[in-house]
């Protein structure tokens, strides 16, 4: 279908974005890569009066390492993240996850910040942000603030962004010595959103895991940590028994609703399989 008519503005500064958002309130939507927004407009799931195209704001673009953080601008495309040597070195989880996100033509336009602001429950990046304990950097007319990933993703397509605010960048602690990460997912077709996906991050020392962070996508209304399974794994040598115990605890951590792709029970099963696969890939990776 074609979208309902709308007005279009492409402001040259963040201040101009804030004043447009202030003036038009709920009737305006921010347009970044458009790879989610334009699809929903074409399907007439929403019909804003005004699109505010932020892609002219070059300060929101790019990847930099500074003071122990990898900072990714909100407008950095998935393709740019995928191709970045800094990302591969300092946040290898993101390099691992990128091939799972959509397709090359969509990765060329879809943005890192757009994916996080959209907060699709099956999207991979929110789970990665939880696993990496990233901070979302947000700006509004009254100034800037930062929110930890754990407090940012609040519900179904719902984040901590307030009306009038823009996600400007994400700060990710650079990979510390001994840490490893892994990602895998199940989807019906390559490039689809995940039926269940797992982003894992942990310290590996002589076969013992610590600081374990397991974040799932596709199994709840938002990306979620699996705290009980994390506790099982923490501080103990990884072996088949421990893994079985952790898998069993996932049933306490996760309560996936049935959806068109799979029943909740099936998703628990897939989540358990993912835990085994991702941890075994991580433990067999060469010492970092």
């Amino acid at each position: 279908m074609k979208p309902a008519p709308f007005h279009y503005e492409k402001p040259a500064s963040l201040d101009a974005v804030f004043s447009l958002l202030d003036k038009h309130g709920d009737n305006a939507r921010i347009l970044a890569g458009g790879q989610s927004l334009l699809a929903t407009l074409n399907m007439r799931l929403s019909a804003p009066d005004l699109l505010i195209d932020i892609t002219g704001l070059d300060t929101l673009r790019g990847i930099a390492v500074d003071g122990g953080f990898l900072r990714i601008g909100a407008l950095t495309t998935h393709a740019e993240v995928k191709g970045s040597a800094d990302v591969a070195m300092h946040a290898p989880l993101l390099a691992q996850v990128m091939p799972f996100i959509a397709h090359p033509a969509i990765r060329n336009r879809g943005t890192f910040g757009g994916s996080l602001a959209h907060a699709d429950p099956a999207a991979e990046l929110p789970a990665c942000m939880l696993a990496l304990d990233a901070e979302m950097e947000i700006a509004g007319a009254s100034g800037k603030r930062s929110v930890r990933a754990a407090d940012f993703f609040r519900g179904l397509y719902e984040t901590d962004l307030k009306p009038g605010e823009v996600l400007i960048s994400v700060a990710i602690p650079v990979l510390s010595a001994g840490y490893r990460s892994g990602f895998s997912e199940f989807s019906r077709r390559s490039g689809d959103f995940a039926m269940a996906g797992l982003a894992a991050h942990a310290k590996f020392e002589n076969g013992v895991l610590s600081d374990v962070r397991l974040a799932y996508c596709g199994v709840d209304i938002r990306a979620v940590r699996a705290a009980a399974a994390e506790r099982v794994l923490d501080g103990k040598p990884l072996n088949a028994n421990l893994l079985d115990e952790a898998k069993a605890r996932l049933a306490d951590d996760l309560d996936p609703p049935d959806d068109l792709q799979a029943s909740g029970k099936m998703k628990i099963h897939l989540s358990q399989v993912l835990l085994g696969r991702v941890l075994s890939a991580m433990s067999s990776a060469s010492e970092a």
Partner: protein
């Protein structure tokens, strides 16, 4: 409400007034008469609308014409006339990689991007790269065959 845009399409400068809601692929097809790019699902899933903006493949249905202001846009007509996709076109013919041809322009542009990144892709890599381009008739086997054949031709020095 219409906005004026200026862009380069297949090497020619174009200036036009467009409604903000007009997608790039509709603009190319309806305003410029370049009907080689097709419109299937209109929500990013099928890849029939694939065009190049600034040298990169994008979904023409998920890009607004107004967003292409100042951009360099190329369609299957452009890359066909320039000879850039000649080896792929010959291989698609040779390997019977199309039937109705609806998906073909998008697949040619996507395969061109693949071969630029990776001149010797495995069959698995070809399938993965083309996974966002749906064909409803040929069966992907022949399409993968054709991309493999074209890759060999290009590596052998042909276009």
């Amino acid at each position: 409400m219409d906005r004026e845009i200026s862009l380069t399409v297949n090497g020619e400068s174009v200036t036009a007034r467009v409604a903000p809601r007009k997608s790039l692929v509709d603009f190319l097809r309806e305003t410029l008469g370049l009907t080689g790019s097709h419109v299937g699902c209109e929500h990013g899933v099928c890849g029939a609308c694939t065009v190049r903006v600034g040298g990169e493949i994008v979904r023409g249905c998920l890009t607004l014409a107004v967003q292409a202001d100042g951009a360099v846009v190329e369609t299957v007509e452009g890359v066909s006339d320039s000879g850039e996709i000649a080896a792929l076109q010959a291989a698609f013919l040779e390997r019977n990689a199309l039937q109705c041809g609806f998906c073909t322009p998008g697949i040619l542009l996507t395969a061109t991007a693949l071969l630029k990144e990776n001149p010797a892709p495995s069959r698995e890599e070809i399938r993965e790269y083309l996974s966002g381009n749906y064909c409803r008739c040929t069966g992907y086997q022949a399409i993968v065959d054709a991309v493999e054949t074209a890759a060999e031709t290009i590596r052998g020095g042909g276009r």
